[in-house]
């Protein structure tokens, strides 16, 4: 899976969680750019990503995420 395909798959998980697609997917995207992506929904998105890509994160790794770019980097590093 290349980065673009990964990005699309992550976008689908976010839409499924926040129940809307009113955001533009980009490498700079942050949770604050997406209405409904808050503390409550964050872990649902993370669990969705873990299940979809069969990866496991550490809480500390999640705490260091800055934007979509760092999330995609982290997923790709786990998938290798």
């Amino acid at each position: 899976m290349n980065r673009d395909e990964l990005s699309e798959a992550v976008k689908a998980i976010i839409i499924d969680t926040v129940k809307h697609d009113d955001f533009v997917m980009s490498e700079e995207l942050t949770a604050t750019d997406v209405s409904g992506w808050d503390s409550l929904s964050h872990m649902s998105i993370i669990t969705g990503i873990e299940q979809k890509f069969s990866v496991k994160f550490k809480l500390k790794e999640l705490n260091k995420l800055k934007n979509m770019s760092s999330l995609l980097d982290l997923i790709l590093s786990k998938m290798q």
Binding site: V18, L40, S41, M43, S44, I46, E50, L59, K60, N63
Partner: protein, 477 residues
């Protein structure tokens, strides 16, 4: 020294002039003045526990530095756990010792023990729940590498003791507060003027509405047995409105005062009485506590329980609200308050709509569906808040059972009509201004109209307000 007292008015004016005239040359001198006056403020209110908060400052400053200096993860964990045990241990001793002690004795009595005892008289240090949660958040943020430890003891002491927030919050994050005091602050007239407006709105909410509502509801709760059901129903709503006016009033005053010193504190309320779901309510009520609980309890717990799906979410929510409940006080009624909040979440978790945000920011009049949801939320929140008022599960159940009777539809004997009209205008203003930081954010309105609004509010504050009434309710938490 209450924010709505003459002593505080004198204190605030003195600090203002010291800060901007003596301290204007450097951030360090400004921090010295803030720290010195904050220590005076705390000591004036509670001299006995001044040493406790200073101990808290020193120990957490050193623990923060120690976490970062440890090279290995295991040593960092050891220092973090030590810090958490110290902070939680102190909080538990002062706030929960008698509760646990009495509960154990009661439990023994169930099994036939007739152990005679008397509770220890342990006093609750002012603001301990607030500054302890700030300290815990600070240590966890350093451990999670979200912030660097503060290496300036003066700035750190100012952060924990800062007088506008020491009594009842907001529970301020270090990463938001410390950068604001790391340099010399320049006087910002617009910010200071906005602070005055926010303070005025908070003062109005406290002395006119909260104190008036308290006078109206106390006779109802003092003698529940003799009240009509309709009066009790009114009383339940009056208490919810009182809590909102009291705590949001306090918060607006705290945020307003802080702006006079060029420091922005976190927003604590976002019109929670217009919530349309329980998750919406907790995004809007006591935001600094709910976000603290979300970040340091709910998120790690959901991470731990993430493979259990909705059951894991429910478990995380239950533990989080248990802590939020008991944070409010050491009694089973507060535990029940937390459990009830978790129960309210069950339909949302089951339907998978916990994360759904109810967006009505751009409508002037809510739709009938929104309005009904708001009304329903007011009812279930008023019901839950009865636990905070009666401080007793049985007292709350008695109150509710007394409401469910034939004279529910009779005319309530006690209804503060005039006060409720003022409250309705207050809520209308909050609705119209709900997308702004506070309801009196009216800098865009032409000056003559603004002056009229200020004069009307001041007349109401000094004409109708009660200044010799009770302290802020959240001070006791």
């Amino acid at each position: 020294m209450l924010f709505n007292s003459i002593e505080f008015a004198v204190f605030a004016v003195v600090v203002f002039f010291l800060y901007w005239f003596l301290g204007r040359r450097s951030g360090r001198s400004q921090n010295i003045i803030l720290l010195g006056t904050s220590i005076f403020f705390y000591g004036y209110a509670d001299l006995r526990f001044l040493s406790l908060i200073l101990f808290n400052v020193i120990i957490n400053y050193l623990l923060g530095l120690s976490i970062r200096r440890c090279k290995s993860e295991s040593k960092q964990q050891l220092v973090l756990i030590t810090g958490l045990l110290i902070n939680i241990g102190i909080l538990c001793y002062f706030k929960y010792f008698n509760f646990f002690y009495d509960s154990i004795i009661d439990l023994l009595a169930v099994f036939g023990s007739d152990f005679a005892y008397s509770s220890l008289k342990i006093l609750l240090p002012l603001g301990i729940s607030f500054y302890t949660f700030q300290s815990i958040g600070y240590l966890l943020d350093i451990y999670n590498e979200e912030i660097e430890p503060c290496d300036d003891p003066l700035a750190f002491a100012t952060y924990l003791t800062y007088f506008p927030k020491i009594v009842a919050g907001p529970i301020e994050r270090a990463q938001r507060f410390l950068p604001q005091i790391s340099h010399a602050r320049q006087f910002d007239y617009q910010l200071a003027a906005d602070g005055c407006r926010q303070f005025l709105w908070g003062l109005f909410a406290k002395v006119v509405l909260a104190n008036g509502l308290e006078n109206a509801l106390n006779p109802i709760f003092d003698n529940v047995a003799d009240q009509r059901a309709s009066t009790l129903l009114v009383g339940a709503f009056l208490y919810l409105f009182y809590m909102y006016c009291d705590f949001s009033g306090y918060t607006n005053m705290a945020l307003g005062i802080s702006k006079l010193f060029g420091i922005r504190l976190s927003i604590n309320f976002a019109t929670p009485l217009f919530s349309t779901s329980i998750s919406d309510f907790w995004r809007r009520w006591h935001i600094s506590l709910s976000t603290w609980a979300m970040d340091y309890l709910y998120t790690p717990l959901t991470f731990i329980f993430r493979s259990y799906g909705k059951a894991g979410t429910m478990l995380a929510i239950s533990i989080t609200f248990f802590v939020i409940g008991i944070w409010h006080g050491a009694a089973w009624a507060y535990v029940a308050f937390g459990v009830l909040q978790a129960i309210y979440f069950i339909p949302l978790v089951t339907a998978g709509s916990v994360n759904q945000v109810n967006n009505y920011d751009d409508v002037l009049i809510p739709s009938p569906v929104h309005a009904l949801k708001m009304l329903f939320m007011l009812c279930i929140i008023a019901l839950a808040f009865l636990l905070l008022k009666t401080e007793s599960v049985s007292g709350t159940l008695d109150y509710i059972s007394a409401i469910v009777s034939a004279d529910l539809f009779s005319r309530p004997e006690k209804f503060p009509g005039m006060l409720m009209m003022i409250f309705a205008l207050f809520m209308l203003t909050e609705w119209l201004q709900r997308n702004r930081e506070h309801a009196l954010d009216i800098a865009r309105i032409a000056l003559p109209y603004r002056h009229i609004i200020y004069i009307v509010l001041l007349i109401m504050v000094f004409g109708l307000g009660e200044f010799d009434n009770s302290a802020f309710v959240y001070k006791q938490f």
